[in-house]
């Protein structure tokens, strides 16, 4: 396809996006580029000593979970740590109220983290519900769930089966009543996702004959299957 396109597709092997910025006034550009660096990616590097990475990690976990077609492993430690922190802070505020203004600031942050936690858990539950029939029969997927989610899926499946039987299957001939793992939706791992490369990955194969070089900060639209492994090892994040 035409190489004057903004997006690089397999047909253009030249990565136009990697050419240096315009060289008209390099000093100003360098200056501005330097100014940009804190904003170029949405994660804060740990160079400031007072940043707790857990919140950033949970943010990534939520975004990844939202983008991935299949259920990702549950972030047990992360959720546990943050929940403990929240309880601790809330207990502390109960004891010693402090200045109303500062309390309000702390409360705002608590609400933000709660919102993040809920969003993360809700995103997972949506998948658990949608693929309940399939997941509940798959050891692999059950192992990616928290204890709460496992309990939820079993109860949900029970409700679903009763509902289907009562409203519909009872009225059908015996041979058409099957309700098992193959009924209902199955996550489709070939679907497209957008990801950003976190560290240089090098060449990865995208078809039997083609490879693509993945460098830090590149953004790709690719089938989920192609990046699934890289996602597990944190080499890419979904966007």
């Amino acid at each position: 396809m035409a190489s004057d396109n903004v997006f690089v597709s397999p047909e253009d092997s030249v990565m136009t996006n990697l050419s240096p910025m315009d060289a008209v006034e390099p000093t100003v550009d360098e200056l501005l580029d330097g100014a940009l660096s804190p904003y170029l990616s949405d994660d804060q590097d740990g160079d400031s000593p007072f940043v707790n990475e857990d919140v950033t990690k949970l943010k990534h976990a939520w975004v990844n979970e939202k983008q991935a077609p299949d259920l990702l492993p549950y972030e047990t430690q992360l959720v546990e740590d943050l929940t403990e922190m929240l309880q601790f802070i809330e207990a502390l505020q109960g004891e010693d109220a402090g200045q109303p203004f500062t309390v309000m600031l702390y409360q705002t942050e608590v609400e933000r983290i709660k919102y993040l936690l809920r969003s993360y858990l809700r995103t997972r539950l949506q998948k658990v519900e949608r693929y309940a029939m399939f997941y509940s029969g798959s050891e692999e997927h059950l192992s990616r769930m928290s204890a709460g989610e496992q309990q939820y899926i079993h109860q949900y499946r029970g409700l679903f089966e009763t509902h289907m039987t009562r409203t519909c299957l009872d009225k059908l001939p015996e041979s058409l009543r099957a309700l098992d793992e193959t009924t209902g939706n199955i996550p489709w791992n070939d679907t497209a996702v957008v990801c950003r490369v976190q560290q240089d990955v090098g060449e990865i194969s995208v078809t039997e004959t083609e490879t693509v070089e993945m460098r830090r900060d590149n953004i790709f639209l690719m089938p989920y299957q192609t990046v699934e492994k890289l996602l597990q090892s944190d080499q890419v994040v979904l966007l």
């Binding site: 009924t183 939706n185 199955i186 489709w188």
Partner: protein, 182 residues
Amino acid sequence: MGDYYDIDDILADQQLNVDIPGLATDETRSNGDELQADTTIELPLWMAESLAANDFVELQLPRPYGSRMQRILYASCRNVNFHALCPYFYKFGLKLSLALDEPQLSELLADVYRQRLELVLDAAQRSDAQNMVEFISQLDETEKQTYAIAKKSTQAVRQWQKGDAKLLQSAEILTCFQSAPS
């Protein structure tokens, strides 16, 4: 795409237009008469497919996908009324190309889809929606879906820029209940 409960997917299976010059058998009946061999009849794809699998019939491309139409599409596909050809032009076309083993048909469809996509996105991102009605009525269901999602996401950005978007929204189901007459 590929939803188990997707009604469009099921409807795409029922498009009544596979021509079948038949090696019709004694069991196949139409209006009580026995069908002669070599008769051409139209059957829903799901039926035709299973008949073909058992060598009762031989499948032919229906007219919207025939060689004449293919030539027209090769020349220019931008002004063709796909909705009139077949509301599920792509979905049904893909099923046909698999059933009849005609890979060049799906290649053509892919090409045509890509060419029309930009028009669809362009229409969706315009702020003047007036002149679009006719254009949209000529899209096939897949394209209409693309148009709808493109429009929705562009409008969401506009709304946000105007400052009326909230972080917490009521669930769709609640809005349904609230707007329902009591």
